[in-house]
């Protein structure tokens, strides 16, 4: 049994319309996603906007209602995480995308970071202050700044406060929903490296959601690529980046910019080749609705959404 196992997860949003707000249809934000994460590893979820990667993460932590499917965490069913017992819930935490709106501007840092501690543990004021100061140190912020307000910090520092809050309960799994995409590139690397450091230090497991392939390559041990609510390809970074099998993945990988300007002409040519291949073989890789097929294993670690043979 793996650490986190998601089986055939579906999140459908009803579309209301017409007379009396009847449900006229569904948006299938996540449509049959299965993934499993091993303890201490980082699992990367990539996809374009609206591909359902964020919805998947939010469904796991209980911010979106799950239409069907099953989620198990350390062998225990957490499909309805808001209803399961508190000690499991505190093991799964989340880092949010926007460090500006995810911290309550009217609260001091000590109140923000201590919120989970107050919910789950009974500590005296002094113990709590000490704990928050330790957490601030852990994320590389000055412990003296706990009485400041979020607007007194920079974006990168705010994201660290968000991380301090997420690790306050010593969780086992952290869902990081595009944790660096709102940050400056120079700060991105800083926060990412820091996330890797605390992963080693605390033995964390990450579900890392991003649209940035470079970041994913840097961080992840296993990668899943989503398109329109379904997986198109899943595998190790080597599988995905060196041997992409699905045409969608090929295009994604081809879109990574090449830093060396001498290869520019070549790179453009390669991209155009992939593009024409994409247009030609679109029908082969996607079904009549434009959705991906079920995943088929092509090697031990590598799964690709291909039509069933025969």
């Amino acid at each position: 049994m793996s650490f986190l196992e998601v089986t055939d997860l579906k999140v459908h949003f009803p579309v209301k319309g017409g007379l009396f707000g009847r449900t006229v249809g569904h948006i299938k934000a996540v449509d049959g996603v299965s993934l499993s994460i091993e303890k201490g590893k980082t699992y990367g979820l990539v996809g374009e906007s609206g591909s359902g990667k964020t919805t998947t993460g939010r469904a796991i932590i209980g911010l979106n209602n799950i239409t069907s499917g099953k989620i198990t965490f350390e062998g225990r069913d957490i499909t309805n995480i808001r209803k399961v017992s508190k000690d499991i819930r505190k093991d799964v935490q989340m880092i949010f995308q926007d460090p500006y709106s995810s911290l309550n501007t009217k609260k001091r840092v000590i109140d923000i970071v201590a919120e989970p501690i107050r919910n789950y543990e009974k500590l005296t004021k002094a113990e709590e202050t000490k704990r928050v100061q330790e957490l601030m140190e852990q994320v590389g912020l000055s412990p003296e700044s706990i009485y400041k307000y979020p607007h007194e910090f920079s974006g990168g520092q705010r994201q660290r406060i968000g991380i301090a809050r997420a690790i306050a309960l010593k969780p086992k799994l952290i869902i990081a929903d595009e944790p660096v995409s709102a940050l400056d590139v120079s700060v991105q690397a800083q926060v990412l490296n820091f996330m890797q450091d605390i992963q080693k230090e605390l033995g964390l497991t990450y579900l890392f959601i991003s649209h940035d392939l470079g970041v994913i390559k840097h961080m992840c041990d296993r990668i899943g690529i989503m398109y329109k609510g379904r997986y198109v390809e899943e595998g190790s970074p080597a599988d995905i980046f060196n041997n992409p099998q699905h045409i969608y993945t090929k295009r994604l990988v081809a879109a990574i910019p090449d830093i060396n300007p001498r290869n520019r002409a070549e790179h453009i040519k390669f991209r155009q080749e992939v593009r024409s291949e994409y247009e030609k073989s679109y029908d082969k890789y996607f079904n009549s609705e434009g959705l991906a097929y079920m995943l088929q294993p092509v090697s031990e670690s590598h799964l690709v959404a291909l039509p069933e043979k025969g």
Binding site: S102, L103, K106, K130
Partner: protein
């Protein structure tokens, strides 16, 4: 670096310094100082309130409203600073007690409508869906009730009513606007990530509502309540003027003005109604000025300070 030095217990104890004050109040204060009219209005309001509540401690309402047939319609004099009315009652005393009563009602109604509106609006906006639907239909129901007619009926069937019961009847018909305002703002707030974050951190819904969302609504609440205070004082005076507010035994600014319904009083005995009318005007203007300054303080683009 900090990480190293903070291991030092001496440095850690330094953190027990007093917490920083919220910056919100400072912004409001700066705005008031910059807007001289609003500042003067605030000073005036504080002085009037302190004066009225202070003096009325030494005045006896029963004694002031007792009819004295030997002192009917006296013009202002050393005995009666602002003269007397047709019952020989001292206008100055009535003015002080009346202002106190009017202010008390205004404040009480504002606070009560505020409380109901905040709780109703926040619950409705935060939970949304069916809860929101039902609660907003209740608001709609109260909205369509004819306020004035019900107040008139109430005045007719309740023989003797106090400041509290009068405030309650006003509150029953004045909380809906606030509930709608707070609801719409809560609808915005609940979509923000900090609310979602609180959910993942294990806070209960009511805890999120009152410790996370409420502080973010504070500015809009303060502004709405201040502007409402002026409106409520005006409303009470209006009702009393029409004769549906307080009886003469409980003076208010409205009862004093209503003496002017007598043409002779209106023409010849200015001392009865002019001070009260002026006071209503100035009070409402001042409260409005302060309210406008607060409103600007909540919107960074409109700030002057």
């Amino acid at each position: 670096m900090e990480i190293e030095t903070s291991k030092n217990p001496l440095l850690l104890s330094k953190v027990e310094e007093p917490a920083k004050t919220p910056s919100g109040w400072r912004i409001i204060w700066r705005e008031l100082v910059r807007d001289k009219v609003a500042l003067l209005s605030l000073i005036f309001l504080v002085l009037i309130t302190a004066f009225v509540y202070g003096i009325s401690l030494f005045l006896d309402q029963e004694e002031i409203v007792t009819v004295d047939l030997f002192a009917i319609h006296q013009p202002p004099s050393a005995d009666f600073w602002l003269g007397t009315d047709y019952g020989g009652r001292d206008i100055f005393g009535q003015l002080i007690i009346g202002t106190r009563n009017s202010l008390s009602i205004g404040i009480l109604v504002t606070v009560m409508t505020g409380l109901i509106g905040i709780i109703f609006g926040m619950v409705s906006g935060y939970f949304g869906g069916a809860v929101d639907n039902i609660m907003m239909r209740i608001v709609d129901f109260f909205m369509i009730l004819p306020f004035l007619m019900i107040v008139i009926v109430f005045v007719a069937i309740v023989p003797k009513y106090s400041i509290l019961s009068f405030s309650l009847i006003m509150t029953a018909f004045l909380w809906m606007g606030k509930a709608r305002l707070i609801r719409s703002k809560t609808l915005q707030e609940r979509e923000l990530d900090y609310v979602q974050a609180s959910k993942t951190l294990g806070s209960s819904n009511f805890r999120i509502l009152f410790t996370q969302v409420l502080p973010n609504l504070s500015s809009i609440i303060i502004v709405a309540m201040t502007l409402n205070l002026a409106a409520n004082i005006g409303l009470e005076s209006g009702l009393s003027f029409l004769g549906f507010g307080f009886p003469e035994s409980t003076p208010s600014l409205g009862t004093l003005v209503s003496y002017a319904r007598n043409p002779q009083t209106l023409q010849d005995r200015w001392w009865i109604w002019v001070p009260a009318s002026l006071l209503i005007l100035v009070l409402m203007l001042s409260i409005n000025n302060v309210g406008q300054a607060l409103k600007r303080a909540t919107d960074a683009r409109q700030r002057r300070g």
